[in-house]
């Protein structure tokens, strides 16, 4: 099946840059995990990060909402700009950054509470108390995650009682509920079966109308299917991840500029 061509090369000039990485390096104590990555993240587009195992894709993704801060000894050099401002700058509020840049994880992690409470968790955290508004938010988010029809009569049921694919969509609904600007997804379908995977992939296509999406995937076909731009990361000799090539997905997969990219895409390594 031919991948949907969702944009034309000439569009890049008209696209807004939502986030930008400038010479980003990520260190765990003395070990450099990510080396000097510079790439743009275009607004309302899906950017995929692909590469062999262990090259640092997840580390790179987590650097975009400062989740690496949670790891002792982790530090960054370079910049990550969100709407032009460096999120690692002095005086930046990590809490606010994470509100604007949400994350969906590899293994669905619903909270041990009802479906309703899961989705309402974020808005409640921000101070929303009015039940009518919360009800609207929960419904709106669940609809956007294509889960409303399944759970509308079971909002009080535990979030952990859903199937794997539904749990992941619940996590997506939860992330959407606080109206982030960017959604980061770390291999969101690798723990799901093929049908659930397809559902999530369709969902991502609809989500990009309202959000900017960055997705890490080890599945090249998935990247080719759903993303507009792809960044190919690889590991160099000192086990640091570096950016081999970045470009529109169609171009990167049909006409890669780097030999390493071509080797990876054609399966010669990885």
């Amino acid at each position: 099946m031919q991948p949907q061509i969702t944009f034309q090369p000439s569009d890049t000039a008209n696209l807004a840059v939502k986030m930008a990485l400038n010479n980003l390096s990520v260190y765990y104590k003395d070990f450099r995990a990510i080396k000097d990555v510079t790439l743009p993240v275009y607004e309302h587009r899906v950017t995929a990060i692909i590469g062999p195992s262990g090259c640092g894709k997840s580390t790179l993704l987590r650097a975009l909402n400062r989740m690496n801060d949670l790891i002792p000894g982790a530090r960054v050099e370079g910049e990550v700009l969100l709407d032009g401002e460096n999120i690692y700058g002095a005086g930046q509020d990590v809490v606010d950054i994470r509100r604007r840049v949400g994350m969906v994880f590899q293994r669905p992690n619903p909270f041990p509470m009802s479906v309703y409470d899961n989705v309402a968790f974020g808005p409640r955290l921000l101070g929303l108390r009015k039940k009518a508004v919360l009800d609207e938010i929960v419904e709106r988010s669940l609809r956007a995650a294509a889960l409303w029809e399944h759970v509308k009569d079971k909002l009080g049921q535990s979030g952990m009682a859903l199937s794997g694919g539904q749990q992941q969509r619940l996590c997506i609904a939860r992330a959407i509920a606080v109206e982030p600007e960017v959604i980061l997804m770390d291999e969101p379908t690798s723990a799901l079966d093929p049908i659930a995977t397809l559902n999530i992939e369709d969902l991502i296509q609809t989500l990009k109308e309202n959000f900017t999406i960055v997705i890490v995937t080890h599945n090249m076909q998935q990247a080719a299917r759903i993303s507009d731009f792809t960044a190919f990361l690889s590991m160099d000799d000192d086990r640091a991840g570096y950016l081999v090539e970045f470009g529109p997905t169609v171009e990167l997969f049909t006409n890669p500029k780097q030999k390493l990219t071509e080797d990876y895409i054609t399966g010669r390594f990885g």
Partner: protein
């Protein structure tokens, strides 16, 4: 509703409140940590100050002096504790480990449930009641108090402690590791011994240390089982045994068959006596007990850290 949730929220005020709450809670946790440390520090310092000055070589090498006279030591208690805790460990540790392995291999059988339940119940029985049990079953039958009875009773007390922590540690080992060994054709006991046990070893050793520390510190159950014995000295027993050409069995019988003293038991007795020197010795024993407990803990932790660094770099 199509408008953003942020039209219903005062974000700035929400952030301010959350920041204040955060600072408040962090300070509270800091304060409670200090409060929790105070008792430990206070007790340790107090015991060191009060007991430290009475520590001398005599304390560790001599038997008690006759009532009212000065000098002497608590050698009898040290040896008594050593003998009884060793006996207790030799009984309780293998039993606990084997039972824990059973719980690992057959976790859902009726026997397993009964085992877990009884262990939890046993852990909750006051140690003095266990001592009374030992009295009724062993002392009355043998018609004398003995280190043996004391050791058995301590074994009963140690058993649930070691079993519980051993089971928890074994459960922490990923099931895949055991399955890997079984898939290679290994019998269950070999997989348990060579694969699961080394993986859980650190935690199990910690549990054993906890059990030993508990046994060393028990006083009440020894009241009616070991009773106390100012003349308990293993060296003399062995020398006499050799001198009178006694068999090994007889010598062992003499070691375990006599009433014996223990450190906490001695402390309890001395603390109540009217002689100033006894009271000082009681403080010294308290110091020794504290040093033992802390020492065991520290050794366990240092060893664990060393092992962890070696294994995981």
């Amino acid at each position: 509703m199509n408008e953003s949730i942020y039209t219903h929220i005062d974000l700035a005020r929400n952030y301010r409140n959350r920041k204040i709450t955060n600072i408040l809670m962090l300070s509270l946790t800091g304060v409670t940590v200090v409060l929790a440390i105070i008792p430990l520090v206070w007790i340790t310092v107090y015991v060191i100050l009060k007991g430290g000055k009475y520590i001398n070589l005599d304390l560790f090498t001599r038997l008690p002096a006759p009532m009212g006279m000065s000098g002497g030591g608590v050698l009898h208690a040290i040896e008594g504790t050593f003998v009884m805790v060793t006996l207790a460990s030799l009984i309780a540790i293998p039993l606990a480990l084997l039972a824990a392995f059973y719980l690992l291999a057959r976790p859902s059988t009726t026997l397993a449930h009964v085992l877990r339940f009884s262990t939890d119940m046993l852990a909750g029985i006051p140690s003095i009641v266990i001592g009374l049990f030992g009295y009724a079953v062993i002392v009355v039958t043998q018609k004398h108090f003995s280190a043996f009875a004391g050791g058995i009773v301590l074994a009963i007390i140690m058993l649930p402690v070691v079993l519980r922590s051993a089971e928890e540690m074994l459960k922490l080992v990923p099931g895949e590791m055991r399955e890997g060994a079984l898939a290679l054709g290994s019998p269950e006991w070999l997989a348990a011994l060579k694969v699961v046990l080394p993986a859980a070893a650190e935690g199990i050793i910690t549990g054993i240390m906890l059990g030993i520390a508990r046994a060393v510190g028990e006083t009440a159950p020894l009241l009616f089982t070991a009773l106390g014995n100012d003349n308990y000295e293993i060296g003399r027993i062995i020398r006499d045994g050799i001198h009178y050409h006694q068999s090994l069995g007889q010598i062992l019988g003499n070691i375990f068959g006599q009433p014996a003293d223990a450190l906490p038991l001695t402390l309890w007795k001395y603390a109540q006596q009217p002689y100033q020197e006894r009271i000082q010795q009681a403080w010294a024993v308290a110091f020794v007990l504290m040093a033992l407990a802390l020492g065991l803990n520290i050794i366990a932790r240092v060893w664990l850290a060393y092992r962890r660094r070696k294994l995981y770099g």
